[in-house]
Symmetry: C2
Subunit: 422 residues, 2 copies
């Protein structure tokens, strides 16, 4: 790989997500050569992917060019590349654009959809972890309505207009809510010759409540909102198989649905060449300094890292806040180490969690404060707006949200690339 020589230690950061970004920013202006690798040339604000899928936002609202983020950080070099393998003995990383030695390696590769070994589901269900996948889902959904106009029987129409979501975490809940809003406000006028009452939205989870990690109050309120909005809730249910046409459940009658969206689980994006001994539950086991024990100078942060504390004995949650805080702490520790100062153990500060279900309907747990309804919804929007990278993206998103709110509309129901089911 053509990387300029440097007198400073080289830190290779794999991944430009929340963790990688924060780490790189923390090391701005410091005496390191940072090399960031990502397979995309942009950072994705994943919490809003579901709005791209449901035609509320275009990709440019939630994606931000990585080169732009770092164009005033002279100690960082970016390369669009896919990592193929690592040799941790020789400290070399192999990519599709060549190999390179590192002094420190930080794995910030995030997570990918976990189908838990269900091959039929993996083949037929729609994941939603990247901008491309969200756009595929948008195209498929709109194409299904176009197709529903062409079929002869009510049964076929209902299968095309049935959207089943597995996983009642924030992604599943927000997606179900957004689909319910489309059904109520947008689709009837778009498809005057289609009986939109035949559209159905199903949210499926093994747990007995939605948003299981949130407070009981938030879960109950979200459940109530979803029912109000006409979402069919399949709690305590798990999917046995899916052939692209019919969902078979372990304990319920089958459901005919042409679209199954899988938001039921994620697993770390592992890198080949890292010892299997370091992997725990599909993530890299790290110590309190985010280092992989027994492997020299390799760190993991964010979703791909498995770290515990007394509150989270089964690993910290795979959310943006953990990645951001770990990225920052690791940056501080790398600086401290270079100056022979003491390193700081990572302490996760839970800033709370929230989910929006629909218009004026959100739930938020902010420490002891439990909010719901209109106020929670404003808090949700405000926090997501300020968290978006870049002034331009904040304004575009704010305008789209205001427009959609005032007009009961979703502006971008465009099928730019048709989705072809394989």
């Amino acid at each position: 790989m053509n990387i300029p020589a440097s007198n400073y230690p080289r830190i290779v950061i794999v991944g430009g997500g929340f963790g990688g970004l924060q780490l790189a920013r923390t090391l701005k202006g410091k005496r390191f050569q940072l090399l960031m690798l990502d397979q995309n040339n942009y950072h994705t604000f994943q919490p809003l992917l579901y709005q791209v899928a449901t035609a509320g936002l275009e990709p440019d609202s939630i994606a931000y060019p990585l080169r732009k983020i770092f164009n005033r950080q002279s100690n960082l070099i970016f390369r669009m590349a896919e990592v193929q393998k690592v040799n941790t003995d020789k400290k070399i990383i192999f990519t599709n654009i060549g190999e390179l030695e590192y002094d420190y390696l930080v794995i910030a590769t995030g997570s990918t959809t976990n189908f838990f070994g269900k091959e039929d589901v993996a083949k037929h269900a729609m994941p939603m972890k990247s901008v491309s996948e969200a756009l595929n889902l948008r195209s498929l959904m709109l194409q299904n309505f176009e197709k529903a106009l062409l079929v002869d029987t009510q049964k076929e129409q209902e299968a095309l207009m049935s959207f089943a979501i597995v996983g009642a975490g924030p992604t599943g809940v927000e997606l179900a809510g957004a689909l319910a809003e489309l059904k109520k406000h947008v689709l009837p006028s778009d498809y005057p010759d289609l009986d939109i009452r035949r559209m159905s939205i199903h949210l499926i989870d093994m747990a007995e409540e939605v948003l299981p990690p949130m407070s009981d109050k938030a879960s109950a309120k979200a459940f109530e909102y979803l029912e109000e909005m006409g979402v069919t809730l399949w709690m305590g249910q798990s999917v046995e198989s899916y052939d692209g046409e019919t969902i078979q459940f372990k304990k319920a009658k089958p459901l005919a649905s042409k679209t199954l969206i899988w938001a039921a689980g994620v697993k770390g994006n592992l890198v080949e060449g890292i010892s299997e001994a370091a992997v725990l539950r599909g993530r890299y086991k790290v110590n309190a300094y985010n280092a992989l024990e027994g492997i020299k100078d390799v760190y993991a942060i964010g979703d791909v890292a498995w770290q515990t504390n007394t509150d989270f004995p089964n690993g910290l949650p795979m959310v943006a806040q953990v990645a951001i805080q770990q990225g920052k702490n690791l940056g501080i520790n790398i600086k401290a180490k270079a100056q022979q100062k003491t390193q700081k153990e990572f302490k996760y500060k839970d800033l709370g969690s929230m989910a929006t279900i629909g218009r004026n309907k959100a739930v938020a747990d902010l420490g002891k404060l439990k909010l719901h309804g209109l106020f929670a919804w404003f808090v949700w929007m405000f926090i997501h707006l300020i968290a978006l990278v870049g002034f331009r993206n904040k304004v575009i998103t704010f305008f789209n949200w205001s427009y959609n709110y005032l007009n009961f509309d979703r502006g971008v129901r465009l099928i730019i690339r048709k989705f072809e089911k394989t």
Copy 2:
């Protein structure tokens, strides 16, 4: 095709471009059953496609959902479909979603890139007539810069950073100008480890001047602007062949360039089954009422129609204004015919033409008024903004332009889908 029965005559409009849209609007509320067919579910504002290609705008700024345009027009039915064939004797249209009888057929299919039979160029050059093609071009351009970082020789770098555009009409000129702006304002800070001076932009045309249909003053001024901005002008030159690596000219030395953008010509999107006798220079010859002579109840409007008047003995120009005015006139005539009133011959009113080359640099011929510079640039922006369909798209575009202008930036340099050369 599942189309509800109707007591009114059925007008099938093939294509939701400028012409089809205007025709449908003109017949709003009238006693016809309108069926609009388009292979996309959106209308494309083609004059700004080049800004999607050069990372100035996202597709949602220039594309607008057709269903939304017509969701308050109860006499129009939309179907996303590709027309395969027409039987003008039996008055049946065949599509990928079934067949249908028509009373009147209006072909408003627009135009497609014309490679003039050059198969090697068709294979290796990039067209830019649709949103997908513009996004492909954006991806290819950005990918080329990422690749330029990886090659070893200056020669290879220069070939990757060379962008050749064939055709110095408005599209070619505006594209060349936009690339020159990227080179000047955006790419140097995005690629600090790349010598952006090695990037070159070439504009090639057989004619001796740019923007040949415009006034001599406009052509000369545009030429001057392009030279100022560092575009290499190959006037009076034509491309002999292109293998994806090197452009061979008829009368000049070859040019190594990995990207050749073909904006040199268009031809009508013809429909199978219409008699070859009706085709003239790749378009449908129509009379002053936009009817195909000798074929009952078939009309053509816009780029696909070949119509002459004393000012344009070789056919009216293939521009939006002609399509819009013909769509309106045809709508009025169809109404008149139904009421047994006299039909009106089409009279083209030339509202002028304009092109923007760069920041504060545009040319405009508005009747006797010939403008250039900052004022022409404002007029260009204003006219394009008001012509965009929908309030939302106007605001988003206006914000993007203001942001790009104030920040010397292009917000959306995202490679959402990689472009793979075949």
